[in-house]
């Protein structure tokens, strides 16, 4: 981590926070990032590593402008600021570091795209530490034309990991639901919301998509049978199976971290109660026993505890209970309406939706005792938060400018990006795992 250690006098493992602390001291105010393409990024008072993504040689001869995809990926992450440039640099280039330094650039990426005889493209790139004036590595990958966007996301992941010491999430995928008139679609898209593909088309509502831990399957609730039934579907093949179709409603599926079981809300015994079952819905076992609503269960990363929503105290609050059964413990105490808990992959943070003065706001709480939960949006209709697999970003749905939109935000709420700007209503996002 030569680049990071340049910024950090401390020899400890560099972190984004260490970088940001240093940058906030050394750079002062940073202007807001420019919006690229359909990705609108906003952030006030944030500090970011200034990085220039040069034009890649021959990238204009493909269907995707790789350098622009890499730039918007890095900007959305909240820890980089793209510096405009029209210069073309490929991976064999010898950029003049003093020139880039004088433009306030700390890191530089260049590359090329070459069409191969078999129709694939050879995508090459290199990353330079401008401040130190040295190379930080690069790669060469031959990809099918349909995977050029993915190749760009992999470049962004490489840069992110080299400069922050943490894994990037740009090559992961998201799932979400669109509604257009009376047509509903469950879609799978790149983490930047682009290149969406339909996994399920239906004339009836679809809610609550949940990625399996290996990223190969989506569980979801479909109303195609005129009631709520939980299905699981293989993303690559489209093969579906029924997970829970008991009397009454079947909803709120979530996978265990090992992918071997699912939790869901079933009303088969009267009332909405939480059950754990096998990955094909076998042997459903009741976890909660209350005369109240118990729903929206999610596993902790160690698989031992369930966080869930219950109105046992009146309004909905978040509780936790051991999967094996045991004492139920209340988690949220502020506000009279707290729903949709999502846990960060390291188990440190919980994102959830809280109603405050009639507005539904995304909150992030540090689960260790004493931390005060913080609202991190200025919108009023936030829904369905889920964490990126590296725990640094949260995706959620909200209304903005009179439209249903998907947003990503850093955990402190400082950098937000609007994804998937279509005319359709878009809801129920779920961030997938590392899988490709």
């Amino acid at each position: 981590m030569a680049f990071s250690s340049h910024f950090c006098a401390n020899p400890m493992r560099p972190s984004i926070h260490a970088l940001l602390v240093f940058l906030s001291l050394s750079l002062g105010l940073v202007s807001a990032s420019e919006a690229q393409f359909r990705v609108e990024i906003s952030g006030v008072g944030a500090t970011q590593v200034p990085i220039a993504i040069a034009r890649f040689r021959d990238e204009d001869r493909t269907t995707q402008v790789l350098s622009a995809i890499v730039r918007s990926d890095l900007e959305r992450a909240g820890v980089f600021r793209g510096i405009d440039t029209t210069v073309l640099i490929d991976e064999t280039g010898q950029p003049q570091m003093s020139d880039w330094r004088s433009r306030g650039v700390d890191a530089l990426v260049g590359g090329s795209v070459t069409r191969l005889a078999d129709g694939r493209f050879d995508v090459r790139f290199k990353l330079w530490d401008v401040v130190k004036g040295k190379e930080m590595g690069g790669q060469s990958n031959a990809v099918a034309p349909t995977d050029l966007r993915l190749a760009a996301h992999h470049i962004a992941d490489f840069v992110y990991e080299k400069l922050t010491g943490e894994k990037g999430v740009f090559s992961t995928r998201i799932a979400y639901v669109t509604r257009s008139g009376s047509r509903y679609a469950l879609r799978v898209a790149d983490a930047d919301g682009e290149a969406g593909q339909v996994a399920l088309n239906s004339p009836e509502p679809i809610i609550s998509p949940a990625w399996s831990p290996n990223g190969q399957e989506l569980a979801y609730v479909s109303f195609e049978a005129q009631k709520a039934v939980v299905y699981a579907q293989e993303v690559a093949s489209g093969k579906r199976r029924v997970i829970a179709n008991f009397r009454g409603s079947n909803s709120a599926p979530a996978w265990s971290p090992d992918g071997q079981s699912l939790v869901a809300t079933l009303s088969r015994e009267g009332g909405s109660q939480i059950f754990v079952m096998g990955r094909n819905g076998e042997n459903p076992k009741r976890v909660t026993s209350s005369p109240s609503i118990d729903t929206e269960a999610t596993f902790t990363p160690d698989g031992r505890t369930l966080y869930f929503v219950s109105d046992r105290s009146g309004g909905p609050q978040i509780y936790r209970v051991p999967v094996a059964g045991g004492a139920v413990e209340r988690v949220t105490f502020t506000g009279d309406y707290n729903i949709s808990p999502a846990l960060s992959p390291d188990g440190r943070y919980m994102a959830y939706i809280s109603r405050q003065s009639g507005a539904f706001k995304l909150y992030v709480a540090e689960l260790s005792k004493g931390a005060t939960p913080q609202a991190i949006t200025d919108t009023r209709d936030d829904e369905s938060p889920s964490f990126a697999p590296n725990g640094r970003l949260i995706i959620y749905a909200t209304r903005s400018g009179g439209r249903d939109v998907l947003m990503t935000t850093t955990l402190d709420g400082k950098i937000k990006a609007k994804l998937v700007s279509t005319t359709a209503d878009v809801r129920e996002p779920m961030w997938g795992p590392y899988d490709r």
């Binding site: 709520a228 009397r247 009303s267 609503i293 949709s340």
Partner: protein, 176 residues
């Protein structure tokens, strides 16, 4: 089943309901069926003679509608209590189901658009179960009714004001 028998069951059920902790409320007051006095027509009503400009309107659409059994029960915000206004709907449906044991109903609970989709699904389920519980207490077999929920996913009317929300907080009783 004859009317007397049905009334007896309904009264027993009402008494039971009034005494139990359930939020289902088919309380003991008689349903306010039609309390309006007939409009002046023959000059015999208080008020004296008929005005020469008076036109008495006969509304056939209204009587046709009331001849049909209602299928929708509306709820107050955050409530699962079946209000007095909708007790006749539940009682009439219970009568039909008790008369013909082969008939089946799906009771679909719905909510207004505010709040999360899963919590609203559970709220809708609670409304639907409130209605199926009332039906069963009126003599309907458990196998004749299924309580399901659409949460906020299938609003009856579009809109983000109290008028729209009130029409969407409902349970629909649909034949299966």
């Amino acid at each position: 089943m004859n009317t007397i028998q049905f009334t007896t069951i309904a009264l027993v059920a009402s008494a039971f309901l009034a005494g139990c902790a359930s939020s289902v409320k088919l309380d003991d007051k008689p349903a306010p069926v039609e309390s309006r006095t007939p409009t002046t027509s023959g000059g015999k009503a208080a008020g004296g003679s008929t005005s020469p400009t008076q036109v008495a309107s006969v509304d056939l659409t209204k009587s046709a509608a009331s001849a049909e059994i209602g299928r929708v029960v509306y709820f107050d915000y955050d409530s699962f209590v079946i209000k007095d206004d909708f007790r006749p709907v539940v009682e009439a449906q219970a009568k039909v189901l008790s008369t013909d044991r082969t008939k089946k109903l799906s009771v679909e609970g719905h909510t207004d658009e505010r709040g999360g989709s899963e919590y609203n699904l559970a709220l809708g389920q609670k409304r639907a179960e409130s209605v199926t519980k009332a039906l069963k207490l009126l003599g309907v077999n458990d196998t004749q009714v299924e309580a399901v929920s659409f949460g906020k996913e299938r609003p009856a009317v579009q809109g983000s004001d109290e008028a729209a929300w009130a029409k969407n907080r409902r349970a629909e009783l649909n034949n299966r």
